[in-house]
Subunit: 424 residues, 2 copies
């Protein structure tokens, strides 16, 4: 595999004033194309350290990517360090200077003389055009290796990387493997549970070309299968049966693939079935509705919701019975059901979805300690509920898990509706 | 300043399967105490590369922190690489082996023989106890330098770092400077606007000991002032007048300091004034209420809300006039006001806060294109509104900006209430 090292320079990165988003951006894009990232590092603005790091990287990697330090000020050292590291003099390039001047003119500013620095490139280097700023990037071919230096600001770097650097690398270092990738998404299933479910395919991962990774993410687990082959045919031969097997093993737990979101999946199901939705939230405080309305076009099926944070609102707006409230308390199976039915009636929706629980840190009762959440679901076919409990979790996580699992409960229940129709 | 380099090892980090959170965690903690982070890097699991990187780091830094590679399996190489880098043999430590065995027994599992590896330390090294896992950390004093290796899992590393490593370093490498730090938080003010407001203090930042950083974050800007002095007195002499000046220049735009959140600030103000709050959300879809209910104890002042995603809900639940809706449309100043008043009445709250707008990507009208949002605020003193417009932003960002600015509008309006009371 083609080895790539990424070196970010900048005191502001090491001082924590700026978060380095460009290294993960480039690494992710290159990995997806089949390149191997073999080292990443962040250096301060010290010429000797930068020169040393470039030379060391060249002793190990095929491609070295540098970011930062291409500005016009004296602490921008990458241009000089790069020339020194590849033992080439810097040369003034009049056409680059003309472009920099025209960039300033276009944005209606006068040209600061300091920016003339940016028109100096190591002898034989190519400039990488920059549409969003003054600093051109620098591309140096060095023996069979390539070094590319790009400016640090993410908007400048990203378009230069996509428009110039990736095409250059794909041409000159065509990936030697073909990669296939799919992400399987589940909600409300722990990592170990998930591993158990797909246990049968795990022995197949004991292979350099097959990779399964788990990313737990706010109540969800994203399982990514990645297969590399010498060509598309070889990759497919391994990938397709494995992907189909994982699909089958996950069954109803699988809510979606790749970029699909849980709320997006719920939206598609509601739309397919012609159902409208209303939410009644207590402990999740609006978060479930927020997730639903993240989906563009959700106003087609989402009528709205009630956040019933006080018992009075539960009674007066949702029509929950004061007797039930007095008898079993707001955090209970009965109230979850009454809230779901209440909002379904109030907003004239096909489906009512509710949450009630103790998100903490204060509150809770002996039977229902902090972390207890009830989910209620009222549908044309009747009302059901589910009890959940996450001990020792933060308020933020309890809200998030409850909102996610409420959506997933809805998804599982109405997926069934379709299965019934399919059968009938 | 004391120089620290951090080396993370692990193929999973370079393959993007795991996000490296431990390097920023340690860097942030060390910076806060006045240490200088001079380089960070991420290496794959290759013994020669790890040994080389440790040796190079020792040629530059006072302290070298290593993470990962301390597990019991053959790809855990840090123990051997560290011994090699400092030219010491590995020695079996029976007391560490006893601790590892007792850890397994406590968690009710049998002891895998492979874990015996973890009881080998370089000669003269100290073990760093690990409460949450089997791998002890390793601390080596090498000339006047220190190398610490910690396991990769964040929960294990964080407690070992806080309980053992930081105390050791503070004792043996007392920070030579005293650092003071304050974060000023504003909402709905762009970075350039903010810079203009505090322009007067900017010349004072031209100094190695004073640092101002800006972190734009979801509609907010967090401005951090950090001052270093040889001792507390010297730091204070610079810090106090600057911090006071920034406070005064930001004035009513400043919503809070340090860890305070916007919703937390709104909550404190509501609590102080004895006001209860209700929300009526259209385009923000529950996000404003979610932010309000992130705050522990928010049920004391938050009665609840209505998410009126359809016009029918606006009319039937919030009592918005069908004539107004027909005349000016749902995204308008008049409807924002009627929604705020409607929810204030419905939930019997002191304050009603509303949002209505076009979050996109579809929708909008010539007068109110996507990105237009109206905020309505009904208080005991009357109803007011504000119009906002963010062209070209994503649905997610428009929702977030609208929810944040609605809370900030409420904050500004009721902060005024107090000022009046103070005067009177």
């Amino acid at each position: 595999m083609i080895r790539v090292e990424i070196i970010a320079t900048g005191n502001e990165l090491l001082k924590g004033e700026t978060i380095n988003t460009t290294t993960p951006f480039m690494a992710g894009n290159l990995r997806d194309l089949g390149y191997e990232i073999t080292r990443t590092s962040t250096l301060r603005d010290q010429p000797d350290e930068i020169i040393g790091a470039i030379r060391e990287a060249l002793s190990r990697a095929d491609i070295v990517l540098l970011t930062g330090g291409l500005g016009p000020t004296p602490d921008d050292l990458t241009r000089d360090a790069l020339a020194e590291a590849v033992s080439q003099p810097l040369e003034f390039q009049p056409d680059i200077w003309a472009e920099i001047q025209s960039y300033f003119r276009k944005t209606g500013r006068s040209v600061p003389p300091a920016n003339m620095n940016q028109a100096y490139l190591p002898y034989h280097a190519q400039a990488v055009p920059n549409k969003h700023g003054t600093a051109p990037g620098i591309l140096v071919s060095y023996n069979s290796q390539t070094i590319v230096a790009l400016p640090g600001p993410p908007n400048e770097l990203q378009s230069m990387f996509n428009e110039s650097v990736l095409p250059y690398l794909s041409r000159n270092y065509p990936p030697q493997t073909f990669t296939m990738k799919r992400t399987f998404k589940v909600c409300g299933l722990g990592e170990s549970h998930l591993l158990e479910k797909i246990g049968e395919v795990l022995p197949l991962v004991d292979n350099d070309r097959v990779r399964l990774s788990y990313l737990p993410k706010g109540g969800e687990v994203h399982l990514t299968l990645q297969v590399e082959g010498d060509d598309q045919h070889q990759a497919k031969e391994i990938f397709t049966p494995m992907a189909e097997r994982i699909n089958a093993l996950l069954g109803a737990d699988l809510y979606g693939l790749n970029e699909e979101t849980l709320a997006g999946r719920v939206g598609s199901l509601l739309r397919q079935r012609g159902y409208s939705l209303a939410t009644a939230e207590s402990c999740t405080g609006g978060l479930a509705a927020h997730l639903v309305t993240e989906v563009p076009g959700s106003s087609d099926y989402f009528r709205g919701g009630v956040i019933a944070y006080s018992n009075e609102v539960k009674e007066k707006v949702l029509g929950v019975s004061p007797d039930t409230l007095a008898a079993v308390g707001a955090v209970s199976q009965a109230i979850a059901c009454e809230m779901a039915e209440g909002v379904r009636n109030l907003l004239a929706a096909d489906i009512g979805l509710s949450t009630t629980g103790f998100a903490g840190p204060e509150g809770g009762s002996p039977e229902n300690p902090v972390g207890t959440v009830y989910i209620g679901l009222a549908t044309p076919g009747g009302t059901s509920n589910r009890k959940l409990y996450w001990p020792g979790q933060s308020r933020y996580l309890i809200k998030l898990l409850a909102a996610k699992l409420a959506l997933d409960y809805l998804r599982r229940e109405i997926s069934g509706d379709q299965a019934d129709e399919d059968r009938g």
